[in-house]
Symmetry: C3
Subunit: 265 residues, 3 copies
């Protein structure tokens, strides 16, 4: 379906269609206005699977219900950012936060523990409680660039989060792409990446990848149907072009038969 509207004269790599379990595009909304969100969604709904209202912006946006409805209309999962739930939990208000998210119509929530140092057992209980009403995305990784990054601990926590009821696990990269999954220069920490793929499997993993070079790296490494997160709304169509090998950085996906290339008309 993703390619249905394309004119068809170019052979493109196979691409999953909605509702996708792999090859998801997960968008980070840092506070988009409703008309702007609406324009993005109407232009590119087949290419958008999950739409996260980042941090606590959902809590401050008087039009939050309208945005959630808009996303539902286009078969996009609206998701509350994990920081809000972490802060609510730290204030003893996790149940109130989940009730509010349900009232506002959110079908999905993110459960993270990168801010308040929630113990693993608490995180699992919160995932289980949330999974009764929501699709749960569990995030693993600290927000602090100086925190140690242990492939074994991340793998263990992800498996545990999935067992507790999460549908996908998200590898933390923040909106900067310089933390957790990445070194300070934005390069993928390859031993961490390999450990996660081995232990957890690609099907359950969403990699936060806000930068084009990072998106291209994952697509070159794992193919068109890798699930990528924290995508900027303005990059949605550009990312789909990357996935389909229609940009220089991933054009090799469409050039396998270069030797047999015909000449110009």
């Amino acid at each position: 379906m993703g390619n249905l509207s394309a004119p068809g004269f170019i052979d493109l790599p196979p691409r999953t269609a909605k509702p996708r379990s792999r090859g998801l595009t997960h968008v980070l909304d840092k506070g988009l206005t409703l008309p702007d969100a609406s324009a993005h969604v109407e232009a590119a709904a087949p290419y958008i699977d999950i739409w996260k209202l980042g941090w606590g912006t959902a809590y401050l946006d008087p039009a939050v219900c309208d945005k959630v409805n808009l996303l539902a209309t286009h078969a996009i999962l609206a998701c509350v950012g994990g920081t809000l739930l972490e802060i609510a939990w730290a204030q003893g208000k996790a149940a109130e936060c989940l009730a509010w998210a349900a009232d506002a119509g959110f079908p999905a929530v993110e459960v993270s523990n990168g801010v308040v140092g929630m113990p693993p057992l608490e995180k699992r209980r919160l995932i289980a409680a949330a999974a009764e009403r929501f699709t749960v995305l569990a995030e693993v990784g600290d927000k602090d660039p100086h925190a140690p990054v242990s492939p074994a601990r991340w793998s263990h926590e992800m498996l545990s989060d999935l067992e507790a009821g999460a549908t996908w696990v998200i590898a933390e990269g923040r909106e900067s792409g310089t933390v957790g999954l990445y070194g300070p220069d934005g390069a993928v920490r390859e031993p961490l990446f390999e450990a996660l793929v081995d232990a957890v499997g690609v099907a359950s993993l969403i990699f936060e990848a806000p930068r084009k070079d990072q998106q291209a790296w994952f697509i070159r490494t794992l193919g068109s149907n890798v699930s990528l997160g924290n995508v900027v709304p303005g990059d949605i169509l550009g990312l789909e072009a990357l996935r389909l090998g229609l940009r220089a950085d991933t054009a090799m996906l469409n050039l396998a038969d270069l030797d047999s290339a015909a000449s110009a008309p």
Copy 2:
């Protein structure tokens, strides 16, 4: 008022409401279209105090009067960028520039001297002339990254500008956040910052802070109600989330009682 629409289950730090004298959010508009400006303003008017039409964009925008009217409707001070007035002054047309700004309906102007090397006495005369009709924001600091930065000179000029009739003084950081108030890497020049706070006082100061790490630094250092300038329109809701401790970088504002955190539902 800023928090009025929030659902209320999280304890947030106190926040000033419009019309604010402290805790202002001052937005830099680099040439937004009218529909886009309108969407931002309708979505987030309680969080926007001043809206600067950067540099000379106001001079080139045929829809400038409509934008100024839109901002007035939402109780946001529309402000002419300082560079335009500097160039007009250098061509002997400062009076014409102020007359045009009044005709276009601007309630505020910025008076700066970072471009043309206007002598301090001239700057004060221009502030006094502008203050007869406008709210005046006086900017201090050179646009040139190689210009020397003297805490004593900045403090003296700011006090002098306030005495001449400016309502607020702005510490220069440019839209890049790598000049004046900041080193080339974007880190705050702390001795300069401390000198300005001591000499001028937080209530009269607006710090240009275009980058999230800079905004978070000021909020952690001076609290939610620090006045911040050159905020990108797309960051307005995100900045309010930072001010209210609803993002990882400032979450400590809401975690004082972490020891008493309740467990998950």
Copy 3:
């Protein structure tokens, strides 16, 4: 015409008007929604000459015909990104790609060879074929940051492309501004720049210049009416302010007579 709507109290440098052969602003659309594109075009049509639908985004956008029509209404040349034609060519579908572009209403196409290593003779044949129906922009330069950059080879290829039927030649900088025309830090490769200006002439050259510091460098070096490409839609009005000396980085264009500056009112 570009300056017609300006209030007129400031002396500005002379500026060409549409349809321009020099001083073009060439915009890179990375996948803008139709309402957003429409707002930009309605706000700033006199300042926009060419609008490139980047890479393969045009191929994926179901509203591509509406966007092309919108641009035509505002006398802006809609242009297909070169990567799409390169991939089509590599799959032996160059003729189909040009037929599709004509059907969609595009008046212009870009012919490049930075992705698939198309031999120079093939590029010239493709330019000649495209020029029968389209205004052709030929791009020179590799997308690979590690590719060697030869002033002699670039000059030769540009002259050859013009001879084959291209109306303008584009010096590659990518959307990052760190490749081809630029070193990895974004600084202009001056020997390359000088060789191109000498061999090809400014009138036929469009310099990809996505960053403000790069745009300012070209304007300071070649004046207001240099043709600049890969401009981000949000920077259109800001670039016009740069061209007209209404921003700090180029204010010297309006300050020639600083000695005779009058005093404040």
